[in-house]
């Protein structure tokens, strides 16, 4: 819990730096996991490294030291081996075998921690959500600067991960996106996968002290998944994921400071908010983009329908209804403002409006005529498809349909099909 009255800004700086470093490493590894559909490997490993860490500490390793890293990597490999064993020998589905393996190893870890509490300085509950706030108190002196040990470990891991990613970039990307082709091209796919496994355990162990076993899952998967929604090119996605992870850590820590609560949990919440924002604003298939494109289509259709109904009223065989609903009124206002409908009481079409409306009605009747000629539909079945497609037919398609209907004047209901592009727009008329 962060002391809000604390004047030790330096402490907060170190905690933020640690969180950001840890998060950057996790986002880097997590991007590969997410595109390989291995996010749950991070879940399994983060749970399963606990017994490895505890045993390494018991054997005399210092938390954050090399021995502990080794123990954790071994534990991670054991988990994956156990999961595979359960899958191949006991015939379990992937999720069930992962569920069995990591809960069991984690349970063993917690029991070890609880049973050996006097000899192992690990709090079983902090194992779950970390002690980021206490990170600055365990320091190492470097160049007369007191640097938190956890930060050093995280920075070392981050450097190793970045170097590994740069050196093996081609192999990593190739195997991630097309493992079969990579194997055919002679790349050591198995070695690359094992390397990714080791990288995941390194990132997990580096994060363990700061954010705990479970929130590592959020740090691994969430920034990468959010970045994947935002950008399709992998190297861009990777950089953005790291950026999102770092930003989430800083904002999360500050929010936890402000609201006096657990920093690691708050970081996960902020990362979750980032993901939600990404689902909303993602270009192309984000929720906002989808809603906007759907609504703009609906709006265009409403405008065109209004124009067409006014045109039909002018033609004389129907009366245009006065706008009633809110959408109708908005459409009316938009058309008046855009110069399609005359201002004032008459509410008739302007020349531009008439021209646009004529094209829509032409599309509608051409389609009805074409359907009536080529598809044996009853008369009352012609209108609905035409009502839909009139908004989508281009000039070229209209021309071809007209050519096809050469010599058959009028639509099936006996009305004239208005001509294309007549009268031509003069130069001094404003184009809208």
């Amino acid at each position: 819990m962060i002391d809000a009255d604390s004047t030790h800004l330096w402490m907060h700086f170190w905690a933020i730096a640690t969180a950001a470093t840890v998060s950057a490493g996790c986002a880097l590894v997590g991007s590969f996991l997410v595109v390989r559909r291995l996010s749950l490997l991070g879940d399994a490993i983060s749970h399963a490294v606990l017994p490895g860490i505890v045993l390494a500490v018991l054997a005399g390793g210092r938390p954050g030291g090399a021995g502990v890293f080794l123990g954790a990597v071994v534990a991670a490999l054991v988990t994956v081996w156990l999961t595979n064993l359960l899958g191949t020998h006991a015939g379990l589905a992937e999720d069930a075998s992962a569920g069995v393996a990591f809960t069991t190893l984690f349970a063993i870890g917690v029991v070890l921690v609880s049973a050996l509490a006097s000899r192992v300085d690990i709090d079983p509950e902090c194992v779950l959500y970390g002690i980021l706030e206490l990170v600055p108190f365990d320091t190492v002196s470097i160049l007369s600067l007191e640097v938190p040990r956890a930060l050093l470990a995280a920075a070392a891991v981050l450097i190793v991960l970045v170097i590994g990613a740069v050196l093996c970039w081609k192999e990593l990307v190739f195997t991630a996106f097309d493992p079969a082709a990579a194997r055919a091209a002679g790349l050591p796919v198995g070695v690359v996968s094992a390397g990714l496994l080791v990288a995941t355990s390194l990132a997990t162990v580096a994060s363990f002290e700061a954010v705990g076993a479970i929130l590592v899952v959020a740090m691994l998967a969430v920034p990468a998944a959010a970045a994947e929604l935002l950008f399709r090119r992998f190297h861009v996605m990777l950089v953005v994921a790291v950026g999102l992870g770092v930003a989430g850590s800083i904002l999360g820590y500050l929010a936890a400071w402000r609201f006096n609560t657990n920093a690691a949990g708050m970081i996960a919440v902020v990362l979750g908010i980032e993901y939600v924002v990404a689902t909303l604003v993602a270009p192309g298939d984000g929720i906002v983009a989808r809603v906007v494109s759907r609504e703009s289509l609906r709006w265009r259709v409403a405008c065109e329908d209004r124009l067409a109904s006014l045109w039909r009223a002018e033609e004389g065989d129907a009366t245009a209804l006065a706008p009633r609903t809110l959408l109708d009124r908005l459409v009316q206002a938009r058309l008046v403002f855009g110069g399609r409908i005359n201002r004032g009481g008459s509410g008739g079409l302007t020349d531009i409006g008439r021209e646009e409306a004529r094209v829509i009605v032409r599309s509608h009747r051409l389609w009805e005529a074409w359907l009536g000629r080529h598809v044996a539909l009853p008369l009352d079945h012609l209108h609905p498809p035409a009502e839909w497609i009139e908004h989508h037919l281009g000039a070229e398609v209209r021309g071809r349909i007209a050519a096809d209907l050469e010599g058959h004047e009028g639509d099936p209901h006996g009305r004239d099909i208005p001509p294309e592009g007549f009268p031509p727009r003069t130069a001094d008329e404003p184009a809208l």
């Binding site: 992937e94 029991v111 479970i214 691994l220 969430v222 006096n260 609560t261 298939d285």
Partner: protein, 444 residues
């Protein structure tokens, strides 16, 4: 409080106190129901969705605690937990429907973020020193010591209700679990049944919280069904068996944790379940490691016996033969023990020759055995040749996989003995077919 008084576990003589009995019964029924409901989660591959729901329960506990004005009323807290567990499942569905994010990442996101939110809320509550908040952390790793008889009764009742639901809709759930396409084609509301099962898993996860804690409760739903699966191929057997495994795991975990101070219940329950699973993986009939190993040994031995008989039949035409002659023509690791078995079963009988060397010939019964084996080999060869021609002529894939008929262990034994023979250059009756080589083996 189950066995709460460690120094004197039975202060009332050998009859445990009423509260202990009720809590034990409650935990037992939770374990049973989790095992039963979990079967469908495992069969439908929803194990990790249940895990995400479990991690989300912490948030609901915190919210319910705040809404309830700081009362630690177990049913209220669990109702909150259920609400967020279902919200987490809903989140999974929404992510799947509205975004490009794949299932695995969606699960990790929901799990990590909802757990983070729960931790944030609980830490915030604890930091503000709201009275009664100290015990909320017990839901992380499970802690049954604080359960009252009333709480345990409610847990037990909900569990039995869940079991009742499964029993009531057994046919529908089984159908959806094994053949969702057929179920949909037959007009069953597959989505509805599916969602109902997932919600039932969420209910069990929530009810299991006091016993196993948010982090590990998923094991209570996953491990017993997997254990039961080792012992049976029938859903009707798997469900109660899984329930019993869950019951035993929950009870023994709770009992051990009450005897050891400062030990959370959840990990012990999980370890108990894993011990049951490990034992089952080893000794279960047919699927267990031991049974498979014995089966493989039997297969290898039977195959070696047959090969030896076949060679013996051929040698027998030229009169008695020595052990060395026989083994030289049927090499392989298992040949020696096969020879001993044939002698012991009196399929080979000794012939005393001049010079005192031991020679052997086939007994009448051994000859019958060998003839029958040759007939079978010829019949198989014929069938396989026909299937091969069929496969070539019609480009059909409807050739039965030999592993499906013979079993993987037997195929392995056959391949190994064939490889050993190729190395030794021994006789190769019924030559194995090589790609690109025209057919023409024995019996073609």
């Amino acid at each position: 409080m189950i066995l709460a008084v460690v120094d004197d576990p039975f202060p009332y003589g050998w009859i445990p106190p009423y509260n202990t009995l009720v809590v034990a019964a409650g935990v037992a029924s939770v374990g049973f129901a989790a095992g039963v409901v979990g079967c469908f989660a495992v069969l439908r591959r929803r194990a990790l969705a249940g895990d995400a729901a479990a991690h989300a329960t912490l948030l609901g506990i915190g919210l319910a605690f705040l809404l309830g004005g700081g009362r630690r009323d177990l049913p209220l807290l669990l109702a909150g937990a259920l609400a967020t567990a279902i919200a987490a499942l809903l989140g999974l569905v929404l992510i799947g429907r509205w975004t490009r994010t794949r299932d695995d990442a969606a699960t990790a996101i929901v799990l990590g973020v909802s757990f983070g939110a729960g931790i944030t809320l609980l830490s915030g509550i604890t930091a503000r020193g709201i009275p009664g908040s100290a015990g909320l952390g017990q839901f992380l790793l499970g802690h049954t010591a604080g359960l009252t008889a009333a709480d345990a009764t409610i847990l037990g009742a909900v569990s039995l209700l869940a079991v009742g639901m499964v029993a009531l809709f057994l046919k529908e759930s089984t159908l959806v679990a094994f053949d969702p396409l057929f179920a949909a084609a037959s007009g069953w509301p597959v989505m509805l049944i599916d969602y109902a099962l997932v919600v039932l898993v969420a209910v069990m996860v929530v009810v299991g919280l006091p016993a196993a804690g948010a982090v590990l409760v998923t094991a209570l739903v996953v491990i017993p069904p997997v254990t039961a699966r080792q012992w049976t191929d029938s859903v009707g057997v798997m469900l109660p068996l899984s329930g019993m495994f869950g019951l035993v795991a929950a009870l023994s975990g709770v009992a051990v944790s009450s005897a050891v101070p400062r030990m959370p219940t959840g990990p012990l329950v999980v370890i108990a379940a894993s011990v049951l699973l490990t034992v089952s993986l080893l000794i279960a009939p047919r699927r267990g490691g031991l049974a498979r190993w014995l089966e493989a040994r039997r297969t290898v031995a039977a195959w070696a016996d047959g090969r030896l008989l076949e060679v013996a039949l051929r040698l027998d035409g030229d009169g008695p033969f020595t052990r060395e002659q026989l083994l030289a023509r049927a090499p392989g690791a298992a040949a020696d023990s096969a020879f001993k078995r044939l002698v012991r079963s009196a399929a080979l009988e000794p012939v005393v020759t001049r010079g005192g060397t031991h020679a052997w010939r086939l007994a009448v019964w051994g000859r019958e055995l060998a003839a029958e084996r040759s007939r079978r080999v010829a019949a198989w060869t014929e069938v396989l040749e026909a299937a091969r021609e069929d496969a070539r002529g019609h480009l059909t894939i409807d050739v039965p996989s030999p592993e499906a008929i013979l079993g993987a262990a037997r195929m392995k034994a056959i391949r190994e003995s064939a490889a050993a023979e190729r190395v030794a250059g021994g006789p190769r009756p019924g030559q194995p077919w090589q790609p690109g080589q025209p057919g023409g083996g024995a019996g073609g």
